[in-house]
């Protein structure tokens, strides 16, 4: 019993760390976008060229989005229409479970095809059409990894919601939010 509880706590820490790591990796890619765009500008002013810079910036854009999906869900940044949830009052829990379950299924669908699409880019040897000549499966790994992480994150929150009645989503810094119920 105690060992099971300890195992659960370790799993909890691992998952939380994974979501945060996704966010941090995404932040790294946002910094990379800034770096690439500045490099491209400086190169142009000085009569040079950074081959494929705008393509790489595009890949970084995708990575900055996909890697952060799970982190954004975990911290309550993704939005939804809360009208019905609020109206349901104490029956709210069932609607929460429904929404989380639909989210989990859709995210799993998303992840399945993201992995498949990336696999096929590799299998077909798809190469980007720009100056960069990147094999497309490499940047698409961010899509595969990010959507899988999002799906895991949804199932994690769904299980927590069913088991404990609390989905565990913790909204970041509410200091500038208005008082009263959200």
């Amino acid at each position: 019993m105690a060992r099971a509880a300890a195992g659960l706590r370790a799993l909890r820490r691992l998952l939380d760390a994974l979501y945060l790591a996704g966010g941090v990796i995404a932040a790294g890619f946002l910094l990379a976008i800034l770096g690439l765009i500045v490099a491209q500008m400086v190169a142009r002013w000085t009569g040079h060229v950074v081959p494929g810079a705008s393509d790489y910036a595009g890949y970084c854009m995708a990575a900055a989005s996909f890697f952060a999906f799970a982190h954004a869900l975990d911290r309550g940044a993704h939005i939804r229409v809360g009208l019905l949830l609020t109206a349901l009052g104490r029956h709210r829990r069932w609607a929460e479970i429904w929404a989380m379950a639909v989210g989990a299924v859709t995210a799993t669908f998303f992840a399945r095809y993201a992995v498949k699409g990336t696999y096929w880019s590799w299998k077909l040897g798809d190469v980007s059409q720009g100056l960069d000549r990147t094999p497309l499966w490499v940047p698409q790994l961010s899509m595969a990894a990010g959507t899988v992480l999002l799906a895991i994150c949804f199932w994690d929150h769904l299980i927590r919601l069913i088991a404990t009645g609390d989905d565990g989503i913790r909204t970041e810094q509410a200091e500038d939010r208005p008082a009263g119920p959200r």
Binding site: V49, S128, Q129
Partner: protein, 302 residues
């Protein structure tokens, strides 16, 4: 059966109009057994995705600028070797030799080649009069592909990478001062608002190709396939005429807009041809025996 046909260019572009006519032809010739619905303006898939989408059956048929896929197979860029051909007629001669090779390359990618139509010849837009390649030195030149970047290098222009969506703004603010494209692009984008000269250097004539998913194609019965093939042949002939007519029309339009339009001066032509030699050599290195065979067959016929 209904086939959705993603196309990258606007509905009023002549390629899209030829495509729409082809779709109509197929509908009539097959008595409605096969209906093709065109989706211009990248409404289903953007240009960059169309080949992959048709390859994997996400759409059964589509149109794409073939040379954009040169990174995958140098043969797809056979229509875009700079200064190898310099007129519609020469280009058609080259294409007659290359077409079966390209069709075979497409078949390897699970695509059945139907027809293709050339864009008007690519000319040089620049913000000042130019006599020789020397005059181009230091001009900010829009590069958007490996070939255009290499060309900037060889002409000692300053390459600036500008995406199509930002071309007008880049010209307006002086980020770019020169680029290579067809008279059609300049006419559509009203380039005379920013640049003064258009030199008809006929650098190359890229083609838009229409292809079908191979599995969907072999799934059609014999009669339908032959009807589609007839319509494709008609579209290719019709498209070539439209392209020629449109070239004359847009060049006139550039003049009316206030640009100085004309054939490139002798000095510029000689310099560009030399650069073309270099770049043809480089393409042959990449394209291997098959590419070499095509170019040699073309040169022998000259």
């Amino acid at each position: 059966e209904t086939w959705d046909m993603p196309m990258a260019y606007a509905a009023s572009n002549f390629h899209s109009e030829v495509g729409a006519e082809f779709a109509r032809c197929v509908g009539e010739a097959t008595g409605g057994a096969l209906e093709i619905v065109t989706h211009p303006s990248g409404a289903l898939f953007g240009g960059a995705e169309i080949k992959r989408a048709v390859q994997t059956g996400q759409a059964n048929i589509g149109e794409r600028l073939l040379s954009a896929h040169e990174n995958e197979n140098p043969l797809f860029g056979v229509d875009s070797i700079p200064f190898l051909v310099s007129s519609f007629d020469e280009h058609e001669r080259l294409w007659a030799i290359a077409e079966p090779h390209v069709a075979a390359a497409l078949e390897e990618d699970n695509l059945h080649y139907l027809y293709s139509v050339p864009w008007p010849p690519q000319g040089l837009y620049v913000n000042k009069p130019v006599e020789t390649v020397e005059d181009l030195k230091g001009v900010k030149f829009r590069s958007y592909s490996a070939a255009t970047a290499r060309m900037a290098e060889l002409t000692r222009m300053v390459p600036v990478q500008v995406e199509a969506a930002e071309l007008s703004q880049a010209l307006a603010t002086g980020v770019a001062e020169s680029f290579i494209s067809s008279g059609a692009t300049g006419y559509d984008r009203k380039v005379w608002e920013h640049l003064s000269h258009f030199y008809e250097v006929d650098a190359w004539l890229p083609r838009n190709a229409v292809f079908a998913n191979l599995d969907a194609w072999t799934g059609l019965d014999e009669a339908t396939r032959s009807a589609v093939g007839d319509c494709a042949a008609k579209a290719q002939a019709e498209g070539l005429e439209r392209s020629k007519a449109y070239t004359a029309f847009t060049v006139e339009g550039l003049k009316e807009g206030g640009m100085t339009v004309g054939r490139a001066p002798e000095g510029l032509v000689v310099g560009l041809k030399a650069i073309g030699e270099t770049m043809t050599g480089e393409w042959l290195d990449r394209a291997g025996d098959e590419g070499r065979a095509i170019v040699e067959a073309y040169r022998q016929g000259q």
